[in-house]
Amino acid sequence: MITLGSRKIDFAAGQEIDPRAIVRVSTDYHRPLPLRAREAFLVRGDDAPAGFASYLVLPNGRCPDNVAAQRRVHLPPEFEYLDDGDVVRLVPERGEIRTLYRRSSPHNSFLLTERCNNYCLMCSQPPRDVNDGWIVDEILATIPLIDPDTGEIGFTGGEPTLLGGRFFELVQACKSYLPRTALHILTNGRTFSDDAFARTLGSLQHHDLMLGIPIYADLPHVHDYIVQADGAFDETIRGILNLKRHGVRVEVRVVLHKQTVTRLPALAAFLARNLLFVDHVALMGLEMMGFTRANLDALWIDPDDYRSELTEAIGILDRARMRVSLYNAQLCLTDQRIWRFAKRSISDWKQEYMPECEGCIMKGDCGGFFASAKHRYSDRISPIAA
């Protein structure tokens, strides 16, 4: 687990820093002067070149005299991971630094809004009905600073499509500034039940776009219950149909918990028969964040207790020649015949292993745990021996 943000930064000396700066981090001593004026230099050692807008000073770093004290920000040790090409937000008046993009990470994701029209029992990012349009401006400012060789970035929420036209602005910005970067968007798909909305996204012709859309049951009312929104299933299905009609790639995402596992094989058969044309199906272990903890009784089931349903469902999808992946699963709780579908997908900054994993020979291949799993995880974890 790494720390992406802090509001305990001492900006006392930093009077010359922009009140709300989105800056690219540099470690380059030969950075052209015009660029230094809008970037932050990361100070790890004893010296630093002049002319940067600000200087992020790590615990072992010492700024030489040629750097004005008014541009210095002293960072705590948990920000040691910062490196050249990363992008951070600095808000001196709140004592805040937040890492928006890490060039070395394959898991850069941007929350577009906290608003949502679903209210999922297991939401890891509980929605808030707030006016947070400023986020879009910030991301539009960030995108041009991202390394164009980045493999993939993600958009998440809340529900990104509630931004309406500004949602398309963001997709267009990714297409224009990141022409080699894949874009993965988490959405509940409901907005795309409006065919015109789906057509507009298709017409942007993003070069490498995938929409991750949840379907939690083959029965509409069960899905609606899980997302706590009547009519959501029908809108989501129609949204997927419209998206595929307009050439947008879709990944179906299923979170595994007590309300979804019973009919998991039936859901797999439903997908294979009705939505065979989707591009990927991701089955995902439960993350112990947000609403999940409040609804734990309704949601928690030991993965060991849904082994057979999971194996059967993956088999149905695989035999129908659909692309299938299993995320956030621990191999010791999963039948070996479906290990080949398991991916290490938990974002690097929140992936962990448990004490019981000590000595397991499969650890390097195992998805492990969300850091939040310390709240609740299977008591049947056991190291796999050679």
Binding site: Y119, L219, P220, H221, Y225, I237, N274, R319
Partner: protein
């Protein structure tokens, strides 16, 4: 947390008021069990009493069967109506191949053959007379018609007689078709049906140059094959096996396919036949019934065994193949695989003998050596027996419109459309079945036929039931079947 609503809240629209059944049909299986099928061939197996409750509109939304019927689009209720959108897409998907019209174009390049198989429906014993060869003029006129088909994929299959005995014409047709295709830009493929007995390097070079698939005959182990397929020297099997190896070496393993014909002598030998296919490194076998056309009827080999015996043969073979799969050796029975594709997937296989509207003319068409156009391979065999009912024109005398939009083709297509035929229209197996107006005309004198007297109907009904029983009784068999259904 109070702000989360309970599942019961979302069940209210179902609890409030009944359901509407979507179109479905049913059929008894064994004992008390019934199978229900919907518009697109999805199915549910249940007990007679449950079916009655469902049909009476009395099924509770809390019943497990209700969930299964709703998930598989047998009913809609106040909770959701997106089932109608999905069902419509599935119907369109099943019917979509029709829009392509004729994809398979069979050229009978000669009737001459050096084999003298008693079951053969068409060929003439070898002689040097060229009157049974197709001419270049006929081939060119036929190609005119081939490229009038709107199909984006065109497959040209060369048949005989023994097609290799008129290799010059085969080469001529391939080169001319490819020349025309530079403008047409179709997905163009060639198949050469041959017994491989007169295979030589020139054939292989031609096939390699144009990616021609080889389709040959393999009836079983040597003794059975040679008995079925006599030729001078009695070495048909040895020549076929040698030819298969040579062709694979030159063209690639998967460029060579084999078909078997079932005779009375085959009936007790199904395992031997399957073992021969495994020995020769094929991935599967098509356990075929014998058709009632041509020499097969004249020589009484068709009457030599009845449908019951064939079904015993078929299921013995099927179960043997299933056991091979359960033991970890993947091997496919292709007739079952085609039916399972209809049962278990959204797709419709392009097998012309089991589609509705019938595959005649619109799935495949035959250009005979003399320029006559037949609605199917069986149609020209019928003509060899003197019944030219399915001769739909002649390449020299008729236009594309006269041939493909004429009554000779459209009448049997319309009359035999299974969804509107007595007994088929209410049969639960109709979504998986097809119509065969040629067979019914040949055996009963009209395009529809009385289904209780139809061997086509009886055989397929038994196969549908046999497949259902096997996949329903054993989950492991269902997995094997799901694999077969998705070979595309």
């Amino acid at each position: 947390m109070a702000k989360f609503l309970a599942l019961a809240e979302y069940e209210k629209p179902m609890a409030a008021g009944g359901y509407r059944p979507l179109p479905y049909r049913f059929m008894p299986l064994s004992g008390d069990r019934y199978v229900l099928t919907n518009l697109v061939g999805e199915f549910v197996i249940t007990e007679r009493e449950s079916l009655r409750v469902f049909a009476d509109g009395q099924l509770s939304y809390q019943d497990e069967l209700y969930s299964e019927l709703k998930s598989k689009h047998f009913l809609i209720d106040g909770d959701s109506d997106v089932a109608l959108d999905l069902l419509a897409i599935k119907v369109r998907t099943k019917l979509s191949p029709l829009a392509n019209f004729t994809g398979l174009h069979i050229f009978v390049v000669t009737l001459r053959c050096e084999h003298s198989c008693p079951y053969c429906q068409v060929s003439r014993a070898n002689d040097d007379r060229r009157e049974f060869d197709m001419t270049r003029e006929t081939a060119l006129r036929s190609l005119d018609l081939v490229f009038r088909s709107p199909s984006p994929a065109i497959k040209i299959e060369f048949q005989g007689g023994e097609s290799l005995l008129n290799l010059d014409l085969v080469e001529f047709i391939i080169e001319e078709a490819k020349r025309r295709n530079e403008h047409e830009q179709r997905d163009l493929a060639f198949v050469l049906a041959t017994n491989l007995a007169v295979l030589d390097d020139r054939v292989l070079a031609l096939a390699a140059r144009h990616q021609v698939l080889i389709s040959t005959s393999l009836d079983g182990p040597a003794d059975l094959h040679n008995k079925n397929r006599p030729r001078p020297g009695g070495d048909s099997h040895a020549r076929a096996i040698a030819g298969i190896h040579r062709a694979r070496m030159a063209l690639g393993r998967d460029q060579v396919g084999a078909l078997m014909t079932t005779t009375a002598a085959s009936l007790s030998r199904v395992r031997d036949i399957i073992d021969e296919y495994i020995t020769q490194d094929f991935d599967g076998i098509f356990l075929r019934p014998l058709s009632p056309y041509g020499f097969a009827v004249k020589t009484k080999s068709y009457a030599a065994y009845n449908e019951t015996k064939w079904l015993d043969f078929y299921f013995e073979g099927l179960d043997y193949i299933i056991d091979l799969n359960l033991g970890g050796f993947p091997f496919v029975e292709h007739y079952a695989a085609m039916i399972l594709q209809k049962m278990l997937t959204p797709f419709q296989p392009g097998y012309v003998d089991l589609m509705s509207p019938a595959g005649i003319g619109i799935g495949a068409v035959v250009y005979n050596y003399d320029g006559d156009v037949y609605a199917s391979d069986e149609a020209r065999m019928l003509a060899e027996m003197g019944d030219t009912r399915f001769r739909i024109g002649n390449v020299h005398a008729n236009t594309y419109e006269e041939i493909f939009l004429g009554d000779a083709l459209l009448d049997p297509l319309e009359q035999s459309f299974a969804a509107s035929v007595p007994m088929c229209s209410w049969c639960a197996f109709e979504p998986w079945c097809g119509s065969d107006p040629v067979f019914h005309h040949a055996t009963q004198g009209d395009f529809v036929g009385k289904k209780p007297l139809s061997a086509f109907c009886g055989r397929n009904m038994m196969i549908f039931k046999g497949l259902l029983q096997r996949l329903n009784d054993r989950p492991q068999v269902r997995e094997v079947f799901e694999r077969w259904a998705n070979i595309r």
